[in-house]
Symmetry: C2
Subunit: 254 residues, 2 copies
């Protein structure tokens, strides 16, 4: 457990730059985002306010940004072996200056008033393969539907929106979606995923024709299990084939 104790590294943390992680998962029904809940600090009108945020923290001075993102995600949620991709840096001078945020920073940081620029990463994971376990200053680490994300710390709602936009736009030029599905999936499940990310219904026949034309799916003899009737055919994503064609691959023109 190289990162089990955040306090050990505390003196090496760089107070000016942080990383934040937007981890997307899909449960066949909804797109979800992994959030952490921090200890209650703010109380308003006698009611304590729940403190949600993205998993994120300051970088450490001996790490590059990718290493920081991996470490921070691991420390707060226990997740490892996740491919994180950097997508944007956020540097509004006011981004950590709201009252509830500065109070929390005072409780945890050595230089709570420092301006912090954050470098954001995103990842797509097969939701059921990852069970987050909260640690460090995270009291909970849970999946939340992207359609009902609560108010988050700092500019984290803005970061989630930007990550979702990035996902949407990359889905149009790369077959990203497969990273959110189990190894074997039905065309119906794949279509549902595309509909949810793109935000509109797709014609079933067109979808099937276009996606099969891309020739990056391997049809299996095996059929879907656990459904009473009309068991659909299963497919796998053909990574090798995709690597071959990816320079001439331009997404799905739905």
């Amino acid at each position: 457990m190289p990162y089990s104790n955040i306090d050990k590294n505390k003196s090496k943390l760089n107070p000016h730059v942080s990383v934040d992680c937007v981890i997307f998962g899909f449960d066949f029904d909804e797109l979800k985002v992994l959030l952490i809940e921090r200890e209650n600090l703010s109380v308003e009108g006698g009611l304590s306010i729940r403190n949600f945020s993205l998993p994120g923290n300051l970088i450490s001075d001996d790490e590059n940004l990718d290493q920081s993102a991996k470490r921070v995600l691991y420390e707060l949620t226990g997740l490892t072996n996740i491919y994180l991709e950097q997508f944007y840096a956020f540097g509004d001078p006011e981004r950590v200056k709201r009252k509830q945020d500065t109070e929390w920073l005072k409780s945890i940081r050595e230089e709570p008033s420092a301006r912090v620029i954050t470098v954001a990463y995103y990842s797509l994971v097969k939701l059921d393969a990852y069970s987050p376990t909260a640690a460090s200053f995270a009291k909970k680490a849970e999946w939340y539907p992207i359609t009902t994300i609560p108010a988050l710390a700092f500019d984290h709602n803005h970061i989630v929106n930007k990550a979702f936009e990035t996902l949407k736009s990359r889905l149009q030029s790369q077959p990203l979606g497969f990273e959110l599905l189990p190894e074997k999936f039905t065309l119906g499940q794949l279509q549902k995923l595309y509909e949810i990310i793109l935000g509109n219904e797709l014609d079933k026949r067109n979808f099937r024709r276009k996606i099969l034309n891309k020739k990056i799916l391997i049809p299996l003899i095996e059929k879907q299990k656990g459904v009473p009737h009309k068991q659909a055919q299963l497919f796998m994503f053909d990574k090798e084939k995709y690597e071959e064609v990816k320079n001439t691959y331009f997404g799905f023109d739905f």
Copy 2:
């Protein structure tokens, strides 16, 4: 001239975060990058070494990152009204620690040994519409062919490569190329631009058919001037049409 004197702002510069700009231009023959040359400081074996870098500097504490990029580009090269797009943050702990780089930093920065994370921006401009004028610590600001970029300060060669990769990949899903061409252009000029960025020759007939099928070009009655014979037809990019179709636009499947 709000940014004419960099020293005025010096006390407000944030020593931990910088911005760097990769400005691409096209002269119908080559893709070029705007570099600045700084005062000679390093001398090796009696010969002074030319100090090239991207236009870049520390952010100022009252600016967001986009504002910093605009200001820094203006201060060093005089260029304004350029749409800069953020594409990546670079944070290797060693990125400003090479001997020749630390020497230069000592001559210009208040905290020359601070670790600096840089947020990089890129832009595509019509080369002949912008005449850079060096100022501040830039002694020269000139266009250099991307194929023969000299050794640059810090990790700037790496940043140029990453910007070029980004350009290449975005060109496959967006019609970015038009920003590098004059308002009216021939299909031959457009094809040349694509060939140079994608790094391979394209079949003329296929290129014309595919690009015209996208229906984002306006054919003009006017023909190319200044060439002795075989004057080619001119086209304009149809921005309005592109805005309409851009959600179903997936680049050129060459």
